[in-house]
């Protein structure tokens, strides 16, 4: 038999039998299809929507008092203590080359961890934690401005808007090495 490489993958006969039997029992039922997904934490910075992989966000905190530490770049907001652990807090907007908005009531702190680096990240607000199908994740636009061009790994649609997915390891490494 000659198979068309462009045709959908054949189901094993037993799986097809089971699927047809299920459809016969309940024609309106939703057939579950295993679709790999990735969890994302979606948040806002200014007018933009951004996301970090859920596996890199240890915890989402409401805005807590941030203790100022002098002698750091403007992106350093300070430090916080979370259950006996001290975390640095960085202004994510500043890491991306923008001017941070004034901290509002909806602001949150994401405790992020990537590679062997970790820090709190100050964002304007967390919008959602959602699962996104891998095939809904698209390559980043080629016309991203400034530092965004090196820190965005892809885009996806969420609530009728476009979300820019960030490379946390790159953001942390650039900060650590003085490139941001």
């Amino acid at each position: 038999m000659v198979t068309d490489p462009d045709s959908p993958t054949d189901l094993p006969a037993a799986a097809l039998d089971a699927l047809l039997e299920q459809r016969a029992r309940d024609p309106g039922a939703i057939v579950e299809v295993d679709m790999p997904t990735v969890q994302w934490v979606v948040f806002s910075l200014g007018e933009g929507a951004f996301a970090l992989p859920g596996r890199q966000v240890v915890e989402i905190l409401p805005l807590v008092p941030i203790h100022y530490v002098p002698g750091g770049p403007p992106a350093l907001a300070g430090v916080i203590e979370v259950r006996g652990i001290v975390w640095s807090v960085l202004r994510l907007a500043a890491l991306l080359g923008g001017a941070p908005d004034p901290v509002g009531r909806q602001a949150s702190i994401l405790l992020g961890r990537a590679a062997d680096m970790e820090s709190g990240l100050l964002v304007d607000g967390v919008d959602d934690v959602c699962e996104v199908a891998e095939d809904a994740f698209l390559a980043p636009p080629t016309n991203l401005p400034g530092r965004l061009s090196g820190c965005v790994t892809g885009v996806f649609q969420h609530r009728a808007g476009t979300v820019l997915a960030l490379d946390l390891e790159r953001l942390f490494a650039d900060w650590r090495d003085g490139r941001s």
Binding site: V64, P65, H67, Y68, V69, P70, G71, G72, P73, L76, G78, V79, I80, E81, G84, I85, V86, W87, S88, L90, R113, D116, M117, E118, S119, F172, W175, R176, D177, G178
Partner: protein, 142 residues
């Protein structure tokens, strides 16, 4: 190493600190490094603000003079009072978060401590003169 692994002192230990201020900052030295507390002293002696390169906001309280054991001699440093002594448990003392340490330009800052209080408590910067002075600062050894 992540912060959770970066414990400071073993549980049960404590450290004696001499606390003082500079503007809104609360600072500390290990008590063993402070040799004496004196009155304000001559105005030409360096302040802790100048030594650390802090913004020139200026102190609002009374100034005192600390004699501090430096790496090669005794340092005379003007600080803002009140100057107090405290014994902080190990659990209250933390190493600098690595991404903070990587970009912090303040010399002498060796660790952080938190003391309970309103509004999330108070942050204390624990200084260690053995870590050297900022480049370009005048020699102050006496």
């Amino acid at each position: 190493m992540n912060a959770a692994d970066a414990g400071a002192l073993p549980v049960g230990q404590a450290i004696n600190l001499v606390l003082f201020r500079w503007g809104t900052l609360e600072l500390a030295l290990q008590a063993g490094q402070v040799l004496a507390l004196e009155s304000a002293g001559a105005a030409d002696l360096p302040s802790i603000g100048a030594l650390l390169g802090l913004p020139d906001a200026g102190p609002t309280g009374a100034l005192r003079l600390l004699r501090v054991a430096g790496p090669t001699g005794t340092l005379h440093i003007r600080v803002e009072g009140p100057v107090t002594q405290a014994r902080l448990p190990a659990a209250a003392i933390h190493p600098l978060p690595p991404l903070l340490a990587a970009r912090l330009r303040l010399p002498w800052v060796r660790a952080l401590a938190f003391r309970a209080g309103e509004g999330g408590g108070h942050l204390i910067l624990i200084l260690d003169p053995r870590t050297g002075l900022a480049p370009g600062l005048p020699a102050i050894e006496t």
